[in-house]
Structures are given as C-alpha cells and as structure tokens.
C-alpha cells in the first residue's frame, strides 16, 4: 500500500464519524451545558447579562409545593404506566405468538399508535376525552351508565385527568413494548415450553417460572426504555391538560417548560429539568448492565 493511501486511510475514520460527533455536540452537548449553566444563574427570557447565583435556584425550587407535587406526579405517572404497559403487552404478545388467520394485519394495526406522531395521536385523544364532545361519554350515556346532565369531565377532574394521561401514555407505549416482548418470546427455543409441558407445568407455571424469567433481559430493556419515554415526556401532558387541573397532572418536564419557557424564568426551568438527570443516569446504568450481562451469557 502506498504512503498516500495510508495517509488517506488515517483521515477516513475520523471523517466518517465527525458528523455524528458534531450532531451529538450541537443537539445534546450544548443544550446540556447551557442547562447546567442557566441552573446556577439568574437567566430570564429577554435579559442579556448572566449572573452566577450559586444554589439559589435549587433552594427556591425545593421549597415550592408545586415542585414536590410534580415529582410525586412524575413517579406515579411513570410507575403506573409501566405496570399497565408490561402486563398488557405480555398478554398481547402471548395472543400474537400463535399463528392465526390475519395475524399480520393485527400486528400491523397494533403497531400503529407507536408509528403515529405523538402530538397527532394525543390531539385525537383530546377530542375523545373532551368535556362536551367525548365519544366515551356519549357511549356511557347511551348505555345509561351516566345521566346526560352529570357526565364525568375526563380532563377536568384531578384523578380522572391523571388516569387519562396515564392511559394515553399506555396506548402509545404498549405497541412498542409488545414488539420487544414478541422478539423476546421468539428467542426462547420451542423445546423449552414443550419440556415444561411434559414435566407437568400448566400455562401459568410455564409463563411465570419459565418464559418470563428467560425473557428478563429483554423485559428490562422494555421497562427501562418505557421509563425514559414516560419520565421525560411532556407532549401528552402538555396537549391533554397542560398540567391542570390545579397542577394535578404537572410532571417534572411539563413544570420545567411551564416555569422556564411559558413563565420566562429560564434559570428555574433549567434547575427543575436537572432533577431528571439522576433518574436518567440510574436508568442508563441499569441498561448498560443488562446489555453487558446478556453479552456475557
């Protein structure tokens, strides 16, 4: 090989990954640095100077009742959505595993909510859950569950609003989780459940003592992704309730947006969003561990 070709090769590799580095720096690195910077300053929308104020932003956030509520909501929201998603996607994956006529079509339809843009799907749900035009209310009235003049306000009552937000999130995440579960199930050799059947295990024992334990690595990937998606998401909350009523659906990301952008207190918004970091780091750590363990095994 000539010296020229060698020199070319030395530059080829950096040239190939430079766009990726640039992309990550511009879209992830700079905003992260800015957020940290803002969190320790008095930055507001419209001001030009930046003054370092130490931990002042964090002190005032920790004292605000709205922040405590948002943390609580975020946790309730993420955990309940995850539990529902894992249970439902397991049931769906079990049903979709056996071949039946039209299985391909059903699989495609189930995947649709994940493929559709979040905001579009959520706007659809905003109509479905609307206080006047809700089709759910209409059906319940037609079935005489509710009287026409005292119908539930799906997005207007604190508990119902929280439940609505959680359910829309589940609607979005179940397809994703189902696909991961299907992959996990198809990785189990066919003889293993057969051996369990011959050993005398019934449906539930095979599911809980054989199949689910064998799927643990892929199950944890689904859970960890689900946590990241729900914990950091604000689209669903913002479109459905904008955090209301009475902050009952306010989560950390939506509170950060409401404070930092809508309320123009960039510094406080940045400080709130930094509270997401420990959770995300923990999730990332577990994800890497799972990936590492399944590589070793």
């Amino acid at each position: 090989m000539s010296a020229g070709a060698k020199r070319e090769e030395r530059w080829l590799a950096p040239a190939m990954f430079l766009p990726a580095v640039f992309y990550i720096l511009a879209l992830v690195g700079i905003p992260l640095v800015l957020a940290v910077l803002y969190a320790f300053s008095d930055a507001r929308i419209g001001t030009t100077g930046l003054h370092f104020v130490g931990l002042e932003n964090f002190r005032s956030i920790l004292q605000s009742p709205g922040f405590h509520k948002a943390i609580r909501n975020s946790i309730v929201f993420t955990l309940s959505a995850q539990v529902i998603v894992i249970v439902c996607s397991n049931i769906l994956a079990t049903a979709l595993e056996e071949p039946f006529r039209g299985r391909g079509l059903v699989r495609f339809l189930i995947l649709l909510p994940w493929v559709a843009p979040v905001s579009l799907g959520t706007i659809g749900w905003k109509w479905i859950l609307d206080s006047i035009y809700s089709v759910i209310t209409w059906v319940l009235v037609a079935l005489h569950v509710y009287k026409p003049y005292s119908t539930p306000m799906w997005l207007g009552e604190p508990h119902l609003a929280m439940a609505s937000v959680v359910l829309v999130h589940c609607w979005r995440l179940i397809p994703f989780s189902t696909v991961i579960m299907l992959a996990g199930r198809s990785a189990i050799p066919k003889e293993i459940p057969e051996a369990a059947a011959i050993d005398g295990a019934g449906f539930w024992r095979t599911l809980f003592q054989i199949k689910i334990p064998m799927m643990t690595p892929i199950l944890s990937v689904a859970v960890l992704f689900g946590i990241i998606f729900t914990f950091t998401d604000m689209t669903v909350v913002y479109i459905l309730t904008a955090g209301g009523p009475f902050d009952s659906t306010q989560t950390l990301p939506s509170l950060a947006f409401a404070t930092g952008i809508a309320g123009s207190d960039l510094a406080a918004g940045a400080a709130i969003s930094l509270f997401l970091v420990p959770v995300l780091i923990a999730v990332a750590y577990f994800m890497l561990r799972v990936a590492n363990r399944s590589e070793v095994a």
Binding site: P189, E191, I192, E194, A195, A196, A197, I198, D199, G200, A201, G202, R205, Q209, I210, P213, M214, T216, A297
Partner: protein
C-alpha cells in the same frame, strides 16, 4: 399389557399432502428398549411427539397402559422426554431443573430433596447441582436431562436423538452408559435416532421407518439379517447390501458375505466373477469395489468387505473368482421391493 401402543396412527400436516406418519400400528413390551430408526423426514420424531402429546394425531389411537390417551395433555400421560437439545431451563440451577417436574406435579415438598439426590446420584452428577446449564459440558447436560426425566419415575421414557449433540468419542461412551442406565431402571424406553449403529447397539427391537411408514419391526439381528424389503436392506449396513436384479427378481447379499471364492464353503455357494476397480483400506477391513463380470446380472455394481488380515492383492481391471453362500442370498420382488423369501 403393552405400555405404549399405537393403532393406525396418522399425522397429516397439510391437507392433501402425504402424511408425515401413515397408519402406524405398533406396541412396546414391558421394560423394553424400542428404537425408531429412519432417515430424516421418515416421521420418527413426529411419531414420538404424538406419543408425548406434543402433536395431535390426524387419526388413529394412542394407548398408554391400556388406556386411550389421545385427549390427554402431556402432563397426564406419565411420560418423560429427553429432547435432542436437552431443553434444560437455562435460568435454573441443575438442582432446580431436576426438581421442576416434582414441583409442577405437586409432589410434597419434603420429598423433593430425597428424589433429586437419588436421580443425581444415579447419573453421577451430584457435584454439579449448584451449576447453571451453561456451565456444563455436552455430556453433563445430557445427564441432567436424563435426571430430570427419571426423577418422577415415569411409565415411559421418550428419547429424541439424545446423543446427536455429542462428539463422536463421547457418543460411544454415552451410548453404553445410557444402555446400562435403562437396564438398571427397567423403564420402557422409546428412542429415536437416524444412526443405525445406535439402533443396533441399544435396541431390544428396532422399528425401521421410511416416509411415514413402518417398513419392519424386529430385533437388530432380524432387521439386519432378514430385511423385509429393499429399503431396510439398503438402509442398514455400511456399505449397504448389494442388490442385483434379473428376471423380475432382485437378489441381495451383504458385502461381508461376498468373498473371494477360496474363503467360502464350497458345496453350498454361488460363484460370481468380480471385475475389480478399486479398494478402500479402513484399518480393520478392506472395501473392494467392482462390477459383476458375467452371468445374468453382468455389469451390476457390487461391493465386497473383507478383513484387512486377508492377504490377497487385487489389480485394477482384473477379474477374480468370488462367491456367496446360498443361505446369504435374499430375494426381493422387483416391482414392490418386498422380500420373496
């Protein structure tokens, strides 16, 4: 009373196609080691899976202990099965793998330890109980699978090519161990294999199968020495039986019976002349290839197998006097392939 019996058992996977198993009727005897032998696609594994309850027969009956079990699930049939891949539960230790059937069949908890230790002791894997399957060698996995099968004392063992994942050297010793193990526990065993050496060495009786049908059932000596048709004649034996046809009849004789004329007892033998072409030296024996030089079957390819202690030297394209003892000639019908006498 037969432990396992099938009556006209048929399995058709795709309607209109030939069945994977066609009209199979057979019965095991108490405590016997029965081998299903056949090439791949002969239906032997499907037959075994129907007996296990993993496949539903299209028609016919399966009886275990005299009762029709067609409608029973695998767990209700009191059978144990060892799979080709062993199908150990990878997330459980060896101990828990062996204890799983006890747990699944609600055997009282205080008996588990005693039974697991008994099964592990029988197979000499007592020191492996805390390991996970991935930490075991192929031979050890096979023993764990056997221990898991024996632990609840089943009425029948079903073994689906359990030795085929072992390397050649281990296979021979595992074969012997398995045979002794079965003799010791005395449980009726059905064993599926495509390896004729395994079938001959282990089987009390061999069921030779081809394209979903039973071609012959008999002791290893029966199926080898008295094949029922040309399929059995050529499937068993390596190299296979020589078949030469003339006048609507196929004549068969094994290579080890087709010998240089001086080695055959003269009064009752059929002389033939071999146009020698080439030879394979296999250490213990020599395989001679060539064609019949004259007679009604002249030109037919034939093979002779002689001990390597035989001193004869054969030259290419030269014709030699060979012979077969009369009692070693088997006659088959040319149209059907079925044995005449």
């Amino acid at each position: 009373m037969a432990v396992v019996e099938t009556r006209n058992l048929t399995k058709v996977f795709k309607q209109g196609e030939l069945g994977a198993v066609n009209d199979v009727s057979l019965a095991t005897e108490e405590g016997e080691f029965l081998v299903f032998l056949g090439p791949s696609g002969s239906g032997k594994t499907t037959l075994l899976r129907m007996i296990a309850g993993l496949e539903t027969p299209t028609s016919g009956e399966i009886l275990i202990g005299g009762q029709v079990v067609n409608h029973l699930s695998p767990r209700e049939r009191r059978i144990a099965m060892v799979f080709q891949s062993y199908a150990l539960y990878p997330h459980l230790t060896v101990y828990k793998n062996i204890a799983f059937p006890l747990k699944a069949q609600n055997v009282p908890k205080d008996q588990h330890d005693k039974k697991v230790q008994w099964a592990a002791g029988l197979l000499g894997i007592g020191r492996l109980l805390d390991r996970k399957p991935r930490e075991l060698s192929g031979g050890e996995r096979q023993r764990v699978a056997l221990a898991r099968a024996i632990v609840r004392e089943p009425a029948v063992f079903l073994l689906d090519e359990p030795l085929s994942n072992l390397d050649a050297k281990l296979r021979a010793s595992a074969r012997e161990e398995l045979e002794q193990f079965q003799t010791r526990v005395g449980t009726t065993t059905i064993y599926v294999t495509h390896d004729q050496v395994e079938a001959m060495a282990m089987g009390d009786r061999v069921v030779v199968m081809d394209r979903g049908r039973v071609r012959q059932i008999g002791t290893p000596a029966d199926v080898y020495d008295e094949p029922a048709d040309t399929f059995v004649a050529t499937f068993l034996g390596s190299p296979p039986m020589n078949l030469v046809s003339a006048g609507g009849t196929i004549t068969g004789f094994r290579p080890e019976h087709f010998l240089p004329a001086r080695a055959v007892a003269i009064p009752d033998s059929v002389p033939m002349r071999l146009a020698f072409s080439h030879e394979e030296y296999l250490g213990a024996e020599r395989i001679l290839y060539g064609r019949l030089a004259d007679g009604p079957c002249a030109g037919a390819k034939v093979v002779s197998r002689i001990a390597s202690t035989h001193a004869g030297v054969f030259a290419k394209d030269t014709t030699y006097d060979f012979a077969v003892e009369k009692r070693h000639l088997k006659l088959f019908d040319e149209a059907t392939g079925i044995r005449n006498r």
